[in-house]
């Protein structure tokens, strides 16, 4: 008589997700483009005059976010896309494994925390150096707002790779990663039109709808600097919601049945959250404060 022995319980999704996420994180950390980005981030930090030269508030605000945004976020679009595409190539081989496409995409999204961790460490180092060198900061920017502006660099570093994963899961055409990077840059350039407009809530809305923003600007090369209107904390919430949307939309590609409808609801909630955050970010007094 044949007896069927009770097999081991199937692994839970979390138990499956953890090792795959670790594997994907190691793949991300070893990617040449990520390593090049980290190298340029370090070089740019020493040559960009952020902390070393005791620069005033403007370079602190602008450079402190654009370096990780570009070298970890924008280059991360290419890394995330390539990792997602390489995962698609092995789909048939891993079909028998307990991890389905949603879990593997989720693991890849978790791996995008690697550049975020680097950005966090870099931001902490820069803040420490600036504190030690007593870099003067403008009183027009409150400490919490400055914290939100700088914290955005971590979200930029995570958001770019997540967008790359999203594009990698949904598109097939060659050069898609570059097109995705161009879309992000063009969107950011469009946001700068808000800075060219007179101070208004509409101008702030146009300025802050971009996935990357600069809070300090001026009316000309020698004109005094001013701080753009808007709430840095709500803007941080907005770009975090965009990150969530990118990750969920990437996982949505492989989802079926109940999981697909659950992800649809998550997408809807995140969409509402993103719109609400953007509106709240643009709601405060749009008056521009001279630094």
């Amino acid at each position: 008589m044949t007896t069927l022995a009770d097999g081991a319980a199937p692994p839970t999704r979390m138990a499956t997700l953890r090792p795959i996420a670790g594997l994907e994180a190691r793949r991300y950390a070893r990617h040449p483009l990520f390593l090049i980005g980290v190298a340029f981030l370090v070089i740019g930090s020493f040559t960009g005059g952020t902390a070393a030269t005791g620069a005033p508030a403007n370079p602190e605000q602008q450079v402190a976010t654009i370096l990780p945004a570009f070298f970890l976020g924008l280059l991360g679009v290419f890394v995330g896309h390539q990792l997602a595409r390489s995962m698609a190539a092995s789909t048939e081989a891993v079909e028998a494994s307990p991890a389905d496409g949603v879990i593997r995409t989720g693991a890849l999204c978790l791996a995008c925390l690697v550049p975020g961790a680097v950005a966090l460490g870099w931001t902490a180092c820069m803040s420490l150096v600036m504190a030690l060198k007593a870099v003067p900061v403008s009183a027009a920017i409150s400490s919490p707002d400055r914290g939100a502006m700088i914290a955005a660099s971590v979200v930029y570093a995570v958001g770019g790779p997540l967008f790359g994963v999203l594009v990698g899961r949904w598109t097939r055409f060659p050069g898609a990663a570059l097109v995705a990077a161009l879309v992000l840059v063009a969107w950011t350039f469009l946001g700068t039109f808000g800075l060219l407009m007179p101070a208004s809530r509409l101008g702030t809305l146009i300025h802050l709808n971009a996935p990357f923003t600069s809070w300090v600007s001026s009316d000309g090369p020698n004109a005094p600097l001013w701080l753009a209107g808007g709430s840095p904390w709500w803007y941080l919430s907005y770009i975090a919601a965009l990150c969530g949307l990118a990750a969920t939309a990437a996982m949505f590609h492989e989802a079926v049945g109940a999981r697909r409808s659950r992800l649809s609801r998550v997408l809807a909630v995140l969409g509402v959250l993103a719109v609400a955050s953007l509106l709240l970010a643009a709601a405060p007094d749009p008056t521009r404060l001279t630094l």
């Binding site: 060659p174 990077a181 350039f189």
Partner: protein, 193 residues
């Protein structure tokens, strides 16, 4: 051996993206050319140009009685599509606003596209049969970095916006000439080395 072998999907997508951005630039160029966006269009067109030497059937084609130089020459004519879009866009910008440095932008476009094809030819020579993806990504990322950070030396601006057009034109003309020579050198068949 002919243009039939070119990955037209990739070339067309990049060219279409570049054309769409250029149309937007011409539409909003009343006060002067929006050079930032014009360069974004050039990046998309460069990506299109990077794919013209992709040869997925290289193993088969290499055995055909046709030199790699002839194949490269035939395929390189496909770069005329993104370049034609660039020329039309720049001329239209010149018509829209007299502030457009038409000549300098045309040389810049030719130089960038030549560098893209040369990079692809070098990778093709190194054994990568489809160099388009990597050339488009690396060159595109490098161009975005230059566009955003404007690195030194300031005396020879790669993508000028105010002044420095003469130096930039000389730079891109030199790079274009060097790139053409590189394409020829990298397209020799291995037995002719």
């Amino acid at each position: 051996m002919t243009l039939r072998g070119v990955d037209w999907a990739a070339v067309a997508v990049g060219s279409a993206a570049g054309a769409a951005i250029m149309i937007g630039c011409v539409a909003f160029a009343a006060d002067g050319p929006p050079l930032g966006y014009v360069r974004l269009a050039l990046i998309a067109l460069t990506a299109a140009g990077a794919f013209v030497l992709d040869e997925p059937a290289a193993a088969t084609v290499d055995a055909a009685p046709c030199t790699r130089l002839r194949r490269t020459a035939a395929r390189s004519t496909a770069v005329m599509l993104p370049f034609a879009i660039w020329v039309c866009g720049v001329l239209a910008l010149g018509q829209r606003t007299s502030l457009t440095p038409v000549g300098a932008l045309l040389v810049e476009g030719a130089g960038v596209l030549a560098v893209a094809v040369a990079s692809a030819a070098v990778l093709r020579r190194a054994g990568r049969i489809e160099p388009g993806e990597i050339v488009a990504s690396v060159l595109g990322a490098a161009m975005l970095a230059v566009l955003i950070f404007n690195p030194p030396p300031r005396s020879v601006p790669v993508f000028p916006v105010g002044d420095g057009w003469a130096a930039s034109t000389a730079l891109w003309a030199s790079l274009a000439a060097a790139a053409v020579m590189l394409v020829v050198a990298a397209s020799q068949d291995p037995y002719r080395r």
